[in-house]
């Protein structure tokens, strides 16, 4: 290409202490292209885009904007140049409406009235319909993302950086987003698109830059690659596919039964659970799909016993457990892995051996004698778990907070599987975990089920769900659809259930907001 690149980075290096998060990374973004930035978690994608957005300063290397070298001191300067960013985690206030949230990011003195009009115009123009006076608390995650995108577009950026934008969307919402991105690219805007979903990168992106361990691996055209070859480039070795067999659970005991489980919301913006019924037998994996924030964390807290429910609403191994605490449920053979690794599943400032004690002090008799802890035994368990689940660590017994996300996740999943539970409830088992660790965790969950345990997986990752689930249910606004065998489920059907269309035939579905937007475009 002969034209000047919109953005060029030359041998960008960023050191945090002794760690090189980015090591001489080069990147070229041409005007109007959709450029994918691929890599496992911890490969340095976020560090790279934070430098391009001015949120971090490079240790060495140069950034060129339209051929001119620039030093980005802060995001405000990057925005002035024409760089916009949509973050993965939204920074919106629930109790404010759409336009108020957008006004917060704009210079002081912006008039709300004219801004509201512009917000609606811009959002409509790009097929991202928003009502300026809607309260954010009432919006779906997809709609919240639209606010972030519109906020970014109002600054008329030439380069838009998007950090894993589809990880929070239903398949239908994601398709809508892709149309918007194509339209932006046709207008000559460039998009730097961070993702680990290979299919969508292949579908959408013109070029891809792949990072591994902070280093540039390759620039390539995703259309010329296969999903497997891209994965190999990201991970550095080929990823083992999960092996599974079909279980016969006809004679297996019911390990978990939910009977009309309802739970009032704990806070004004929390989701209530209503009339959830589910029955899971030993030997099978039941997945609960759904867009984040539809009651998954409430359901997990009810199952684990962190929140109290009527005694007969939750039956674990044929014993009414709704009133029982976490420790009592563990003693019945249940085990739990929450979504949040640090601060919920593990205490960051405590070593792994003490984090073993955290969930197993009640169910593993040898961990204490009388009042006293048996630290040696805890240490041995820590080593056993680390070896069985390939937990890589820098010290024999490091603090949980010092492990990488993937390794800590292997540890917290391994800690529970090592116990040999008869029921395992796990939330987002591979969220933010690299492909190698994810494959290991999924295989371990399947193996546990095939040994006779009931496994409930709450996940937003549909690829994962189709990989390991025997039956799939969908949670939406605190209601759970019937769990159906994986053969009877399709991406489209799950997508519709995620949007709240229970039991309706596809042709009778009322026009959703997404379709309205599509027609309006």
């Amino acid at each position: 290409m002969t034209n000047t690149p919109l953005l060029q980075a030359k041998s960008l290096t960023k050191k945090f202490g002794t760690l090189k998060a980015n090591d001489s990374v080069d990147l070229v973004v041409q005007p109007g292209e959709i450029h994918a930035l691929l890599g496992e978690n911890g490969a340095g994608k976020s560090t790279l885009v934070k430098m391009l957005y001015g949120a971090l300063q490079p240790t060495s290397g140069q950034i060129y904007w339209k051929g001119q070298e620039v030093h980005l001191a802060d995001p405000a300067q990057a925005r002035t140049l024409g760089v916009g960013m949509v973050f993965q985690h939204f920074s919106l206030f629930d109790s404010l409406n759409v336009v108020e949230n957008i006004a917060l990011a704009l210079p002081k003195g912006t008039k709300i009235g004219p801004l509201a009009k512009r917000v609606e115009e811009v959002s409509h123009d790009y097929g991202l319909p928003l009502k300026a006076d809607n309260l954010v608390a009432d919006l779906s995650v997809g709609e919240r993302q639209r606010i972030e995108i519109v906020r970014c577009l109002l600054q008329n950026p030439e380069l838009i950086i998007m950090d894993e934008p589809t990880s929070v969307l239903t398949p239908q919402e994601a398709d809508l987003l892709f149309q918007t991105l194509e339209r932006l690219s046709k207008e000559g805007r460039s998009i730097l698109y961070i993702s680990h979903r290979l299919e969508e990168v292949q579908k959408m992106c013109d070029t891809a830059t792949i990072l591994r361990h902070g280093k540039l691996v390759e620039h390539c055209n995703p259309a010329n690659e296969t999903a497997a070859s891209l994965a190999r480039l990201m991970v550095g070795s080929s990823v083992k596919a999960v092996e599974r067999s079909k279980p016969d659970v006809s004679a297996a005991p019911v390990r978990l039964k939910l009977q009309k489980l309802s739970l009032p919301p704990a806070s004004p913006f929390a989701v209530p659970l209503s009339d959830i019924s589910l029955s899971v037998k030993g030997g099978e994996v039941v997945a609960i799909a759904g867009v984040a924030g539809n009651g998954q964390s409430e359901l997990f807290d009810a199952l684990s016993g962190e929140r109290d429910t009527p005694a007969d609403a939750i039956i674990i191994n044929e014993i009414e457990s709704g009133h029982k605490g976490v420790t009592a449920r563990r003693s019945l053979g249940a085990a739990f892995v929450p979504e949040e690794r640090l601060g919920h599943a593990a205490v960051p400032d405590l070593p792994l051996s003490e984090n073993v004690i955290l969930t197993r002090h009640g169910s593993d008799k040898p961990l204490k004698s009388g009042l006293f802890l048996q630290r040696n035994h805890a240490g041995e368990l820590g080593i056993r778990i680390s070896e069985a689940f390939d937990v890589r660590k820098g010290a024999p017994d490091p603090n949980a907070g010092s492990l990488s996300g993937g390794n800590l996740q292997k540890f917290v999943v391994g800690r529970e599987i090592d116990r040999g539970p008869t029921l395992l409830v796990v939330s987002q088992p591979t969220w933010g975990v690299d492909a190698g660790a994810a494959a290991l965790i999924r295989q371990a969950l399947l193996d546990l089920a095939r040994q006779g345990a009931a496994v409930v997986v709450i996940s937003q990752d549909l690829d994962e769900i189709f990989e390991i689930a025997d039956r799939i249910a969908v949670i939406n606004k605190g209601e759970l659809s019937k769990a159906e065998p994986v053969e009877d489920m399709s991406l489209e059907k799950i997508g519709l259930l995620m949007g709240g269309v229970h039991g309706a035939e596809p042709e009778t579905i009322p026009a959703s907001k997404g379709q309205e937007a599509y027609n309006a475009d």
Binding site: F16, G17, Q57, H71, A73, S304, G305, E306, G325, V326, T327, A328, R330, F336, P338, E340, G343, H344, A345, A346, V347, P348, D349, L350, E354, I357, L358, T359, H361, G362, K368, L371, F372, L373, S402
Partner: protein, 359 residues
């Protein structure tokens, strides 16, 4: 030129222990400045304050006598603070312990037995624990802020004591002074060394230090305290009850403060008077933090703060400086500890303003 605080990636373990040393140094320097401004020779004043009390055996014994209640209360408070419960009312629990424990020698003064003193200690512990339970229950039931309730209850305890020694418990043979009966011999704390003021309280303090050290490092309860204090969500997931922990922390620290209280009146004082503590319950807060909420650290911090009381008395006698200076020293010390603790999580960076503009 501009000074910036930058967050460290990890808390500095070096600074965790260097910060108290730095705080003590800064306190001494500020003290020198304060004495200088009052017109005293700073070197001489500091000598009288901090060195002279360490040079004769009477003062050393007195140091132990004053350190004992500070350490007892301080290790108790470390349970509260580590579990994230802000008990500011140790002074009240100390006083309630002294009151309840004194029922035997004041109301049942004719009963003298070898059991008298042990029973008094048990009653003292009970008094402190029950009084500590009040803010805990208020926090559990109504979410009431324990800082406010425990502090306010302190004044309830102090005024109750004041009422008792001026009213129903006034010594009938005491010429109308606001004091209780003198305790009988059976009710007095045994001395550790014959004919000295060093009483059994010091032993209690050492036992408490060892017991709480084992509690923190070896037991499931200690683990529970640390987990619930650091990450309540993980503690809940572990099956630990926050409500029970609140009650446990307040009642244990209340009991230890109560023991300190009854030993103080059965030891150095020998009767109930309107004022039985020079603010031990509040000073122990400083002791707990200066000792890094670690029982062994608290032992040393207790000795240091006891020295500030002794120094205050010495400075008053020898130089005629108000003994209120000991309060000033304690306040300055707490101020510097809290300021220096910032360095555990942040490091100071000097940024030249020129460089900032150039970026």
């Amino acid at each position: 030129m501009q000074i910036e605080l930058q967050k460290r990636a990890l808390p500095s373990s070096l600074m965790t222990w260097l910060s108290p040393a730095l705080a003590i140094t800064l306190t001494v320097l500020t003290g020198a400045l304060m004495f200088g401004m009052l017109g005293f020779n700073p070197a001489q004043a500091l000598y009288v304050y901090f060195i002279a009390p360490l040079l004769d055996s009477w003062s050393l014994q007195e140091l132990v006598v004053k350190a004992a209640p500070l350490v007892l209360i301080g290790v108790g408070l470390s349970i509260c603070y580590r579990s994230n419960n802000w008990n500011i009312g140790a002074e009240g629990q100390f006083t309630m312990g002294a009151i309840l424990g004194s029922i035997l020698p004041v109301v049942f003064y004719q009963w003298e037995s070898p059991l008298t003193f042990p029973l008094m200690v048990a009653l003292g512990a009970l008094g402190g624990a029950l009084f500590g339970a009040i803010p805990a229950l208020l926090k559990n039931k109504f979410g009431a802020n324990e800082i406010l309730t425990s502090l306010m209850l302190t004044y309830v305890a102090l005024l109750t004591l004041d009422y008792l020694v001026r009213g129903p418990w006034k010594n009938p043979e005491g010429f109308n002074f606001p004091e209780s009966r003198l305790f009988s011999d059976a009710a007095l704390a045994p001395s550790l060394i014959a004919d000295s003021r060093m009483h059994i309280g010091a032993l209690f303090a050492v036992i408490a230090v060892i017991a709480i050290f084992i509690l923190f490092s070896r037991t499931l309860k200690g683990f529970e305290i640390r987990v619930l204090g650091a990450t309540p969500r993980a503690g809940n997931f572990a099956g630990f009850s926050k409500e029970r922990m609140i009650l446990f922390a307040f009642m244990t620290s209340g009991a230890l403060a109560g023991i300190a209280g009854i030993i103080e009146v059965a030891g150095p004082i020998g009767q109930l008077t309107p004022t039985i503590s020079p603010g031990y319950g509040f000073t122990a807060i400083i002791v707990a933090f200066l000792g890094r909420l670690n029982p062994i650290g608290i032992l040393f911090a207790g000795l240091l703060l006891a020295l500030s009381y002794l120094g205050g008395e010495a400075a008053q006698i020898e130089l005629g400086i108000s003994e209120k200076t000991s309060k000033a020293f304690q306040g300055i010390l707490l101020f510097y500890i809290l300021a220096c603790d910032t360095l555990i999580h942040y490091h100071v960076k000097f940024v030249s303003s020129k460089k900032k503009e150039a970026v």
